[in-house]
Structure formats: structure tokens, C-alpha cells
Amino acid sequence: MKSKLYDKIATIYFYAVAVFLILFLVSLISYILYQGRTKLNIDFLTSPPKFMEAGGGIGPQLFNSLELLIITLIISVPIGLGAGIYMAEYAKPGLLTELIRLSVETLSSMPSIVVGLFGLLVFVTMTGWGYSLIAGALALTVLNLPVMTRVSEDSIRSVPNSLREASYALGSTKWQTIVKVVVPAAMPGIITGIILTAGRIFGEAAALLYTAGMSSPALNFSNLNPSSPTSPLNIFRPAETLAVYIWKVNSEGLAPDARQIADGAAAVLLLMVLIFNILARWLGSTLYKRMTGEK
């Protein structure tokens, strides 16, 4: 009889945890959206910020966040996926592999402000680029590589060995097996890795303060000359992101409506992450379905 009682208690406990978590998340999200509701309009999303007077927007910051996301993913997905493939398919158990794994794990627990200062030293100063999008993207790459590597490695490892054997037995090379069988089969996990990475890119502030910078030139979207400082295509310009702007407005904003701006920007940030996640999952599952023929 006792085991049945324990079973009941466990069931109730897990349900309670789930309900608590969902309530907590829902209330948090609705609070943020409610607080920012007055600013959720096109004008706020597109106009540049104002420093001393009310009514400034977040246009450049919003755009910078998206641009930084794309650039960072372009840099970190190939490296992280490559490292994951190496660790799962090529690395032989031994000292070197253990050393790499230890380094990756250490890197993943590094405080992001340290990554930011490292970025300031290496990507901003040593390269001579100054505060720039590319420096921010590289700093975020350092921050995200461990997660991307780890998640790719795990999802590639979880592909059953019988699929690799089937591929080899048909006369495939290792490369063909990885590209045509293993990575496609690991796709759902890899997509999860990209989503986790992207969430951090949107949300990160500390690593960007000293790399992408705390200012953004007013962008001129008709200027497509990549060397001009006001061109959105220039990756060597300073590029304050939404998360950095929220931090700045909150701590040193001079505009009378600084609080509302921060609330509005937070709501926008949350919605962006949400939209990105939904899009990435949809894209991932569509891709996966197309490859597997599952309907």
C-alpha cells in the first residue's frame, strides 16, 4: 500500500511544480508586457532615441540586435557545429579530448563581463576596430561557443550508431556519412542549440558594453556603402543593442520617460526572443520534415 501512496505523492508533487512554473512564467511575461504596453507602437520601434526629452524610440537598437544576431550566428554556428562534430565523431578518448572538454566547460562558466573585458582588449583594442558590431559578435561567439559545441556534440552523439553503420556499409566515406546522415538526424538538437545561443545574443548586455559599445550612430537605411559610419551594412560601426540600451536607460537615462522606455524596450526584447524561437522551431521542423518525409 505504501508504494501506492508514494506514487500519489510524487504525482502531486510533479504536477504542483509544473503548475507553479507555468504560473510564474506567465505572470512574469504578462507583467513585462503590461508594463511596456504604452510603448508597443510602430513609432517607438522605428524612431531613434532622444537623450533629454521624452518620446524617443529604439529603432537603431532594435535593428542592431537583429544584425548582431545574424552576424554572431554566421560566425558561431559553423565553429560550434564543427567543434561538436569533431568531439563526437573524430576525437579519440585521451588527454587532448579531455583537455578540450575541460576548456569548453570552463569557458561556459566564465562571467560574461570577463568575456566583455577580454573582447575590449582583443577585439576592440588590439585589432584597432574600436567599439564595433564585429567586436561584439566575436565576444558573443566566445560566450556562446561552449553551449553550441556541447549541444551539437550531444545531439550528434545521440544519433544511433546503426545509421552510421548502414551508411558505411553502402560505401560512404566518413564525410558523406556525417553530412548526409548524422547531421540531418541530429538537426532537431542542433536547432535547439541555435535557439539557446540566439536567446543569449538578444539578452546579453555585459559582454557587449565594452565591445559593441554603448552608442549607435543614427542609421540611414538608404546608405548601402559598407564603409560609411551611418550605413547599416557597416560592421565596424558601434552598435548598441536593445539589452545594452535597457541597462543604460535604466541606470543613467536622462529622458523624463526613461522608465517607460526601459519597460517598452524590455517588452519588445521579450517579444523578439519569442518570435525568433517560434520561427526557428518552425523552420527547423519544416526542414526536418522535408528531409525525413514525415508529414
Partner: protein, 249 residues
């Protein structure tokens, strides 16, 4: 005609010797059944014939294996070898792709891009594996939606699509129901006209039904081999007789 000749073959997993001085010939266009209790080395042996053991860390091989007179481990490129010597595994292992892409996988990696040619190969292979009628309307559905028996025949079709000369089957029906097993056995009967087939089986009746020759393995040694009727009804070795009559194993 001898398709495969194995001479003095030893195989070690690290320190453990899994195969001991194996000598065995395989006739072309025949079915050879490998029988013996679990862990006797029959699966290990079959995997030396397409060098799948290369993938395992710490495997060492002595002796020679000749395919059409050429030494597999010295004179033959492993990719070419696996094109000639296909393999069907114990558990059906279709790729998580469409039925069509599963069968076209082999031809594609070997450089065939022409759509018409691929269509022909897919249809021909699925027909040869007696699966065409069941899947012709769902070629672009996932292979994982097929039943276990259909999946295994798909794996056979996938193997046939690269036009091998030898097909290795490692207990191909052990995960299947009786009806699917029967279909695969009938298929083996068909296929031996064109291919040389080596099948590992736990099932004595299966060995009796499908094979022309039988080889009995025990503790890494080849105890006895010969025409199936002879091995089954007139075994030379006491251990073979004991195993076949069900006294152990």
C-alpha cells in the same frame, strides 16, 4: 566458382581473440548460413568480409580474405569493397528519410545524379526486394512509417541499389514477426540467382530452409562446414551434432 576464400584468419579485440584460424570458401551464387551459439564469432566473421570491423577501435586481423582472388585487406579499396559487398543488419536501420531517398542514398553517394536513372534504380531495387507494390504510392513518405518487416526489406532494397555482388545478412529476421520472416526467406531464395549471400542466423530451421551451405562456429573456431544437408543430417563433428540436435546453444 569460389567468390570468397578465407585463409588462416585470426581476429583480436585488443587482447581477446575472437576468431581463430578460420579457413572457409564461399561459392558464388549460393547461400551460406553461419550458425552457432551467441558470442561464437559468427557476426564478427561476417563483418570481416566488408571490413566493418575497421570501425572498431583496437581490432587486429591476421590472415587473408580473398574476394575474386584479391586480398581485401591489401589490394582492395574499402569503399569499392563495400560497394561490392553489401550488408543487411540485425535490426532494420532505415535512414530517417523518405523511402525513395533511402534507396537512392547509395547510388547518390557514388555519383549518380540523373533523376531518370535514380528513379529506375529505386523502382528496380524495390521490386527486387519485393516491396514495390506496398510502397509505390508512398515513396516520398518517411521510411520510419513502414512496418518492421517492410523496413528490413527496404534495407535490402537499399543494399541492392548499389549493385553488390555479395550480400551479408546479420540475423536479418531476428527482430521480425513470422510472416515478415517468411517474406524475407522467400526473397533470399530469389536473390541467390544473382548474388552470393552469407547469412548469420540463430534459427536452425531458417538455416535449413534457405541455405545451400552451412558453417558451424563455436568459441571463435570454425568447427565444420559443408553442404547444408550434410552438416545437418550427417555431421562429422560431435559438437556440430550436439548443437544441431539442440543439446546446447
Amino acid at each position: 566458382m569460389k567468390k570468397i576464400e578465407v585463409r588462416e584468419l585470426d581476429l583480436f579485440y585488443g587482447e581477446v581473440q575472437a576468431l581463430k584460424k578460420i579457413n572457409l570458401d564461399v561459392e558464388a551464387n549460393s547461400v551460406l548460413a553461419l550458425i552457432g551459439p551467441s558470442g561464437c564469432g559468427k557476426s564478427t566473421f561476417i563483418r570481416t568480409l566488408n571490413r566493418m570491423n575497421d570501425l572498431i577501435e583496437g581490432v587486429k586481423i591476421n590472415g587473408t580474405v580473398l574476394l575474386d582472388g584479391q586480398d581485401l585487406y591489401k589490394e582492395v579499396d574499402v569503399i569499392e569493397l563495400r560497394k561490392k559487398v553489401g550488408m543487411v543488419f540485425q535490426k532494420p536501420n532505415p535512414f530517417p528519410m523518405t523511402v525513395y531517398d533511402n534507396v537512392a542514398y547509395g547510388p547518390r553517394i557514388h555519383g549518380i545524379k540523373d533523376k531518370k536513372k535514380l528513379n529506375e534504380i529505386v523502382e528496380k531495387s524495390l521490386k527486387a526486394a519485393a516491396l514495390w507494390d506496398e510502397v509505390k504510392d508512398r515513396l516520398h513518405k518517411s521510411a520510419l512509417s513502414l512496418s518492421g518487416g517492410q523496413q528490413q526489406r527496404l534495407c535490402i532494397a537499399r543494399t541492392l541499389a548499389v549493385e553488390p555482388e555479395v550480400i551479408l545478412m546479420d540475423e536479418p529476421t531476428s527482430a521480425l514477426d513470422p510472416i515478415s520472416t517468411m517474406k524475407i526467406e522467400e526473397l533470399i531464395e530469389e536473390l541467390k540467382n544473382k548474388y552470393t549471400i552469407i547469412i548469420v542466423t540463430h534459427n536452425m530451421q531458417q538455416a535449413g530452409r534457405v541455405s545451400d551451405y552451412t558453417a558451424f562456429f563455436l568459441n571463435g573456431e570454425l568447427i565444420e562446414s559443408g553442404p547444408t544437408d550434410q552438416v545437418f543430417y550427417n555431421p562429422k563433428d560431435k559438437r556440430t551434432e550436439d548443437y544441431i540436435t539442440g543439446r546446447f546453444g
